[in-house]
Symmetry: C2
Subunit: 264 residues, 2 copies
């Protein structure tokens, strides 16, 4: 695909949780165009094998590149662990791992960092390695928190059950006296209040989606939108009556086209 002067930035996620990343990107780069792909027909990724996550991730990349994007931001942490931050078919690819690791090291005082993620993200050790590459003496500990995604999707936000489960997942991290916690999944910012309550005031939360937006500033400064401003194209692979409502609630000031993608 030849790039046009108003080529969009592509964003993909296993579902619509990546809207927390799209929101950060759209707020930071208000003049840019975006195309979003949520693979809702096959979500979640975080419980699946590295091979399957990589296959789905590459199918998503191909879809976006064929739509003419100038870069791809991988919002999904599980997919980020399997697709290197590099380029794919000559299109720059950004993911959440290095930005999240970098921001955690910046805000941590004692270099004691915890990671909360899906099972795939934790087992990949991608965050752990990214942190230790930059700070070999840092202390890093990770915990898989599989129930947080369905709790967020169920909408049990600020719920006593969610507080209880959040507290259980961070127990071991707190015993290791972390001072910083990476929210290693696009859904977790939706449960921020429960997680804040669980970790207490001595731990700083790092949203890796927000870190990704900061990280892409250089690229956008060098490759700005030089054409007209379009609606955000919002693709999902499965039809759901909830998508439009949720997206509009989280990004009320943006205009969208809601579309269906057939990947499988």
């Amino acid at each position: 695909m030849a790039l046009k002067e108003n080529s969009p930035i592509g964003v993909f996620d296993s579902g619509i949780g990546g809207i927390t990343v799209l929101r950060e990107l759209a707020a930071r780069f208000p003049k840019e165009n975006f195309i979003y792909l949520g693979d809702t027909a096959r979500l979640p990724y975080g419980t699946k094998s590295p091979e399957t996550i990589r296959k789905y991730g590459e199918q998503n990349l191909n879809f976006l590149i064929e739509k003419g994007v100038k870069a791809v931001a991988i919002a999904c942490n599980s997919a980020s662990t399997q697709i290197p931050e590099d380029s794919y078919r000559n299109i720059p690819v950004f993911n959440v791992i290095r930005p999240g690791a970098q921001m955690a090291l910046q805000v941590s005082i004692d270099q004691r960092i915890g990671i909360l993620g899906t099972r795939a993200t934790v087992l990949s050790e991608a965050y752990q390695k990214a942190i230790l590459r930059q700070a070999p003496n840092a202390f890093v500990i990770a915990e898989a928190a599989p129930l947080l995604v369905p709790l967020a999707e169920e909408g049990w936000i600020d719920d006593p059950v969610t507080n209880l489960i959040a507290y259980r997942y961070v127990q071991r991290l707190l015993q290791s006296r972390i001072d910083t916690l990476i929210l290693g999944c696009t859904h977790y910012p939706l449960l921020k209040n429960s997680l804040l309550r669980a970790v207490g005031s001595s731990v700083t939360l790092v949203d890796s989606g927000a870190a990704l937006a900061v990280h892409m500033s250089d690229f956008v400064a060098k490759n700005p939108n030089a054409g007209k401003h379009d609606k955000i194209q919002f693709y999902t692979t499965d039809a759901s009556s909830n998508t439009e409502k949720l997206v509009k609630a989280l990004m009320p000031n943006k205009e969208f086209d809601f579309l269906l993608a057939d990947l499988c």
Copy 2:
């Protein structure tokens, strides 16, 4: 595919929860051969649209029919709601809906029946319609319980958090004075203790997988295995290190071949 004298019965599920159904079938029909397909690369089905569930279900049917099965038992409740109990490419297809509804009506004294299922199963109203077709004056009420599947997969069996969530999901059903509760998802039998505690002794639980096995007795009597007895072929669409362990723990006396299927 031409049928052979020892053609197996095919069983499919969105994941490996359907092993609770396979176990019932293998216990009731010890001379039969079985081939199982768990679509673990795309699970869960219960949060997805009817169209997507139907598409995946048909791909699973085609896979099993090409392997030469003499019948297919759909273990997955969400898929059962979208694929009629009938025949597909001339192969008889059984699902859990009618057997579950029938057994509930048999055990219920006051004909007040509750259904716990995935969102897709509840919204389809398949159980509700199957019950009312047989007993137009029955009282039927359904509740979607999306968190029970991830709780079972997380292994939080007999856990206080699971008890709390189970109790919340059955609240409204209990207020309607049901005397029977259909476990409308293959995962729920794994949480039987928590559900029993939540509903109390005045409610009878119905396992629709067990009901399906009873329901297939006629078919198996008329079409028995007339050849040799084979290992159970256990296909999944995603590789997981846990599958073998879990399957062997639940069916310790059976022999299996573990294989990978590429559907997507």
